[in-house]
Symmetry: C2
């Protein structure tokens, strides 16, 4: 896009404000005016970067995908062992506990909010989840290479089931305000992986 | 509440219309006027049954909890075996396929929509999920009684992990418009239960 450094900073401020508001209130409850006020930009500044709310929604999905992937990489970069899976699980539980289980997964929240209302956003979110699933799958494949997980295990299906456990666990933890659903869902999947240890 | 039969029918028509609209558009995008129009009632008729939107939201959660529990009972009433778990899984996949994976789980959707915005709705949804989890736990306990599942297995944790698999699987299936995430998540949990067979 060739933005100046200042332009880039303004754009980021708008996207951060839009992310925060859309995740807190939901996309429908968030107006362009809310975002302008929160980001402290004028209407013309905002429209310079984003032609409308839909463009902002897509930018928010991108932004949140980046944030989630950063956290996943932090926990998963060295994922080639059961202790690494345990650290990754602890990282997610730690983040959840810090916010008293409020908020849920930003990608899960946006998915639930937008899957029916916005087909373009839905596809973008499907791609984000596919990236996440790929990261989990690569980790499991590394464990297979290293002989820690049976070569007959289906790394693709296990990665998808693990991602579902994370998403379902986070949603139930958010509703119950209790980390137990996430902990139980992920630990059960790790226990299942252990039954498939080479 | 002591409604007449006609009053009961009107109330149900309002709740059905509110359910459909809130699940299709999200709670925030649904106005009282939308619901009046869809249910073909006057403002005074609507306010006779529901003092405002919040009362409607709670009635919709009740309504959807009843619907989900009906389906779960249909699949789970005789849950005391692996074949019964398989039938329950087939029932959910069948429903999902019939709607081309659109819509997601009504309770999951409402949870994601309302967990932060409405603390009363959040607690009501937590209770709905607890009922669902209880149904799954009772089934697993019956399998333990019948000697099909090890007595050392933690039925409570396994039920919670299964519910998380269902919720995460449904969300990912909705986003991908593909039954595979639900199928894989639930099948992986069933495979895990098989490793705990007595």
């Amino acid at each position: 896009m060739g933005l100046t450094r200042k332009g880039q900073a303004t754009r980021e401020r708008i996207v951060s404000a839009a992310s925060r508001l859309m995740l807190e209130q939901g996309v429908a409850r968030t107006t362009i005016e809310d975002i302008q006020n929160a980001a402290q930009v004028s209407p013309s500044q905002l429209y310079h970067y984003f032609p409308g709310k839909h463009a902002l929604v897509l930018a928010v999905i991108d932004h949140q995908t980046g944030q989630v992937m950063d956290v996943q990489h932090q926990g998963l970069d060295q994922l080639d062992s059961f202790p690494a899976l345990k650290s990754w699980r602890d990282l997610m539980v730690g983040i959840l506990t810090k916010v008293q289980c409020a908020g849920g997964c930003p990608l899960g929240l946006l998915a639930s909010d937008l899957a029916e209302a916005d087909p373009v956003a839905r596809v973008q979110l499907a791609n984000a989840f596919a990236m996440w699933e790929g990261l989990l799958r690569e980790g499991l494949e590394q464990m297979q290479e290293r002989g820690e997980l049976s070569k007959t295990a289906d790394a693709e299906e296990l990665a998808l089931a693990m991602l579902a456990a994370v998403q379902g666990g986070l949603l139930l933890s958010q509703v119950r305000r209790d980390p137990k659903p996430l902990v139980t869902a992920v630990d059960t999947m790790i226990a299942h992986l252990r039954t498939l240890a080479a």
